[in-house]
Symmetry: C2
Subunit: 349 residues, 2 copies
Amino acid sequence: MNPILVEVMRGTALESAHRGALAVLDADGAVLAAIGDVQRPIFPRSAVKVLQALALVESGAADRLVLGDDELALACASHGGEPMHTQTAARMLEKAGLEADALECGVHWPYHEDSARALAAEGRTPTALNNNCSGKHAGFLCLACALHTGPDLRRYVRGYIAPDHPVMREVSAALQAATGFDLATAPRGTDGCSIPTFAIPLHNLALAFARVATGQGLRPGHAAAARRLRTAVARSPLMVSGTGRFDSRVMERLGERVFCKVGAEGVYCAALPERGVGVAIKMDDGNNARASEVVMAAAIEALVALDVDDAAFMRGFSEAPLRNWNRIEVGALRASPSLRAALAPLSAG
Amino acid sequence: MNPILVEVMRGTALESAHRGALAVLDADGAVLAAIGDVQRPIFPRSAVKVLQALALVESGAADRLVLGDDELALACASHGGEPMHTQTAARMLEKAGLEADALECGVHWPYHEDSARALAAEGRTPTALNNNCSGKHAGFLCLACALHTGPDLRRYVRGYIAPDHPVMREVSAALQAATGFDLATAPRGTDGCSIPTFAIPLHNLALAFARVATGQGLRPGHAAAARRLRTAVARSPLMVSGTGRFDSRVMERLGERVFCKVGAEGVYCAALPERGVGVAIKMDDGNNARASEVVMAAAIEALVALDVDDAAFMRGFSEAPLRNWNRIEVGALRASPSLRAALAPLSAG
């Protein structure tokens, strides 16, 4: 039974609560924290996009296609489908010699509500470029340019989302190398964007992100790729998520000190280079917006040495007032006392 | 520790799970089922709008203003802010001699996405009429017409959302009478629409809905009001929720056999007249869309004698395939085996 990590208060009463688990490891595999069950395999979903993008950089495709920081950041992104995101994804495809119809991620309205309404106001409907995973998929298609030497790239990439397509095999191999978890025997599902997702313990995910943080434990090509991707996201933090969203806001503020990435169903992972650790979180109920984010904020507060202003900034996420439609403060979202207590011994402050 | 009531499967693996509690009582107070902690007070939020609307009917305001089924249903609604809803709310206000600016529920974009996009496409922004609670608030303002005999109604209703305003005192008194729970000592919070919300045990909420189902245990004025409100919702099921949403779809199909109503933060209540029982549900994590709905569907399956087609219809909610953006089936949402086992002895089938 995983503990309550986040409390939702209304007035002075507990209205709802979110349970979950959290692992913090260093690159040697030492466990700094293990709250709840960190050995049960869980689907990491989009939290591991940076691990999947290791292949894009190591393959030489990123160099060959001269991908910039914004494009590499978008390859690691779950973005809001804002114009800056769709334009960047389109440019990546153009560099690969492909168009939006090569994307096999599916179509949905932009998560960024103003962008969705702006589309509607123009009488338009969304395309696959608006899909929050379009950058990752554009990255897959750029990777294909390095894997495929023949002439007909369009034909080669068709069906690239299938587990046994060479592109997806390369992507999954990078995930396995970073996590050290045997994906052949892992429970497998299909992700929201139709690629395979493999269930991996939080223990291994935290280890993988410690490796991303330090380069230690990764082969040289992946270590260099991890560094480059972290730098790219730090330089283009709006690409990895979007206007007003947690990942972008935190990395706009803290730069290379934090690489954090949300995944669907209450998953969060982070690489904290100064501390040399990785963090992996899964909320039992799958809630991100008000659960895994709160836990990640509390973990960053504990694990990164923040000055007073930065600490207050992060506290704004881990102890956030809840307001109603009249902007009246009606309650609060907060990291639970037991989470704070479990993180306190790790404090970098 | 409340049990897992809903499982979210990806492939054949459990990806996420929702815990919660459920009470089923009859109007004599006999407990047919008590799963999890049904004595802890919880905020029922919008699930009790029908109880709050008892005052509107009993006061004579509904008769005096000649409110129709659609208007009475809207008074019990958490609606999608579709044009049919905003028009009906506006008509209620007109009957009360008021306008939209009297509403103190706050403003938000319509929950019904097509309606939100249509507003945006017309270059408009939402008003308080689009607020999912505008019908309830219009009902409060209609109630004010019965309570206030003086000339200046606009002035009388100002601040009607305050706990000690005569309108809100009348509404809270109806809630207390139906639930038999002393609200003076109950934990109190402020609801999303700014009126007070009182924490009440699921036990008492289920009892209140058994009373709504049967009239038994309510004073005559409230019993007649409950019958009239149930009938109104059965005749105008789209008003109480909206296009494609659970409450509307279930009541469009099952009519007066079921009165069910969602409340924020994972709450659901239902009155089942044929069985003479009330049902009250609270999910620990506050999830409605894929948790409390699933539990309510399973409860209706167990408690209402359904033919094969209606049972299959309800099963479509309690055991629902999950599809991704490419419409590929990637998993399922389902009532947990332990919930099914706990409900089985109650089976009406």
